[in-house]
């Protein structure tokens, strides 16, 4: 077996292998007559440029057009509801304890009689906040959730001039109620 340990700097440079095999050594020979005319090189360059007119553009016209997100994209969080429109979150705090950026905070309350159509469990998150300035969109909250309550959606947080717009409360995070707001729910759900 050939040893690959360089003994000095020159040797190491020679031994360095290119990753793609597309690197070309610079041609340092003196220019000949055709080279000195310049015109062939100019024409060659122009042909490449004009050739691109007939190619499909790699860019899109954002924001009129948007690209499709990958199904595993981890974007803005949503708080889920069940089929009956009740909030799934029970404020167990596992998302907050899993969060490496400490972006999630919550305050819990007890469900009172008569609120059964609002909250799924006897305890619920009266307040639930995600600081999107802290969030690193790692998705650990989604993994930790035992109640299928928090999901990372396929959108990202819209930009804002002020920082206070990035503190997302429950009204920003909760999905539309599928029972009372079926149209908004269908719109938010999208095609999938």
């Amino acid at each position: 077996m050939q040893t690959l340990i360089p003994h000095n700097a020159d040797e190491s440079r020679r031994m360095m292998q290119s990753l793609t095999n597309r690197a070309k050594p610079v041609d340092r020979r003196p220019m000949n007559f055709v080279d000195r005319l310049y015109l062939p090189a100019v024409l060659k360059g122009m042909s490449i440029t004009f050739g691109h007119i007939f190619k499909k553009p790699p860019t899109i016209k954002y924001p009129e057009q948007t690209r499709e997100f990958s199904p595993v994209f981890r974007g803005l969080h949503v708080l889920n509801r069940d089929e009956e429109g009740r909030e799934r979150c029970t404020a167990c705090g596992l998302c907050a304890v899993a969060c490496p950026a400490e972006a999630i905070t919550m305050e819990a309350a007890e469900r009172e009689p008569g609120e059964e159509n609002l909250y799924r469990e006897e305890k619920y998150a009266a307040r639930y906040e995600i600081n999107m300035l802290r969030c690193i969109f790692c998705g650990l909250c989604e993994e930790a959730c035992p109640k299928d309550a928090i999901y990372l959606s396929e959108t990202f947080a819209p930009s804002n001039f002020a920082r206070k717009g990035f503190i997302y409360g429950k009204k920003d995070l909760l999905i539309p109620n599928p029972v009372t707001q079926p149209e908004e729910y269908a719109k938010a759900k999208g095609k999938r």
Binding site: C92, V97, T105, E110, E115, E121, R163, K164, I167
Partner: protein, 396 residues
């Protein structure tokens, strides 16, 4: 099992496997028995149970216990989680015991050899016991206030199997209020009888106990009688699961977001040595101090550190207490999360550089956030918070 056991002991008159009577104790005080648990030999006075001997060695050798509580007389022998294999009965009668024995109720013999985690049988039996304990236990840890310091959680995590073969409806009960401070969730109870022993031995009149039999057995008070005794709050601390919980702490916070702090005050009823569970300057919960086995520690006066209801439920200001310092928490416990040890706050140099001008903040989190408002003290709400507690300050 016990009958055969006693019979073999009777054959060998000098040894006794059954619980020691007073006369045995007098002889035993002077002599030390050598017992080997998981290949570790230790000398203990006669009359010691296998469990206590194993706890002396400590670590993984000590079998888990859900119903046995060393501070309560007569506890143990009910949950069967502390089963161990006795591979050698004693020096004089080296035959192994025919079945696994409950280590909390079996006393050691001289030369006894016990297998706990080194025995396949024990590990298998314990997994079975965990499965049985979880048959009727609801999986509502996300809601339960005990989660994070629950012995059944630890037990099922360390000794249980992942799945269950139970396919039927779990036994359910309605929630009960045991007096103004204690919440009873009978559904979560594993019938360990610890709270019954506590009420029996600590208070002068017990009004709760186990009613009915078998699957219907439940902890209950006669005709919803409230438990108004100075020391009844200790049933919360002895409960290994979330069946008895503190109503003044109910749903206020998760235990791992609060910071345990040792504190004391002058109390004429109890030792006054407690653990405060704080968040910032708010005292969310007061409990007795626990040792490494999850049992209430002895106080500095030497007696068991039971605390009274006044200390537990009514002293919810940091100013009521003399704070000694943070409690040592096992590094592997979830309660130690977020406690940054040796944290040094950097010195703010801005004001010095800018001739006394304070830094201009882009955002004060309290002006935007609705959580952890400095002016709202959840810890001072009497019971759990409800929707109307939050409405007053709702912006929308």
């Amino acid at each position: 099992m016990h009958r055969r056991f006693v019979a073999s002991a009777a054959r060998n008159k000098k040894t006794s496997h059954s619980a020691p009577g007073p006369c045995v104790k007098i002889i035993a005080m002077s002599e030390l028995f050598k017992v080997t648990i998981d290949n570790i030999t230790i000398e203990v006075p006669a009359g010691t149970t296998i469990l206590q001997a194993a706890r002396k060695i400590g670590g993984e050798v000590a079998p888990p216990a859900m119903c046995y509580y060393s501070k309560l007389k007569g506890s143990g022998g009910k949950c069967r989680t502390c089963l161990v294999e006795v591979s050698k009965g004693s020096e004089k009668d080296p035959r192994p015991m025919p079945k696994l024995v409950a280590s909390c109720r079996t006393t050691v013999m001289d030369g006894m050899e016990v297998k706990n985690i080194t025995s396949e049988k024990v590990i298998d039996a314990r997994a079975g016991v965990v499965e049985f304990l979880l048959l009727n236990h609801p999986l509502d840890c996300p809601i339960c206030d005990q989660a994070g310091e629950c012995h059944l959680q630890d037990l099922s995590y360390e000794h249980g199997k992942e799945g269950t073969r139970f396919e039927f409806q779990k036994r359910t009960f309605h929630k009960h209020d045991l007096g103004p401070y204690i919440q009873l969730h009978m559904t979560r109870c594993i019938l360990c009888y610890r709270c019954v022993f506590t009420a029996d031995q600590l208070t002068n009149k017990r009004v709760h106990g186990v009613l009915s039999r078998g699957d219907h057995a439940e902890i209950a008070t006669y005709i919803e009688k409230s438990l108004d005794n100075d020391f009844i709050g200790n049933v919360i601390d002895v409960c290994p699961v979330g069946a008895l919980t503190d109503k003044t702490f109910r749903f206020k916070n998760r235990v791992w977001f609060t910071k345990p702090v040792d504190a004391h005050r002058d109390c004429d009823k109890c030792c006054g040595e407690v653990q405060l569970w704080m968040r910032g300057d708010e005292v969310f919960r007061v409990t007795a101090r626990k040792d490494e086995w999850g049992e209430i520690k002895d106080s500095s006066k030497g007696s068991t550190g039971w605390i009274c209801n006044e200390c537990r439920f009514e002293k919810k200001f940091a100013s009521d207490w003399t704070i000694e310092g943070p409690t040592q928490v096992n590094r592997h416990s979830v309660i130690s999360q977020g406690h940054y040890v040796g944290l040094k706050k950097p010195n703010e140099t801005f004001e010095k550089v800018m001739n006394g001008r304070e830094p201009r903040l882009f955002m004060d989190i309290h002006s935007v956030s609705e959580v952890n408002k400095p002016e709202i003290q959840l810890s001072l709400i009497h019971g759990p918070a409800h929707s109307d507690d939050f409405k007053e300050n709702n912006k929308d």
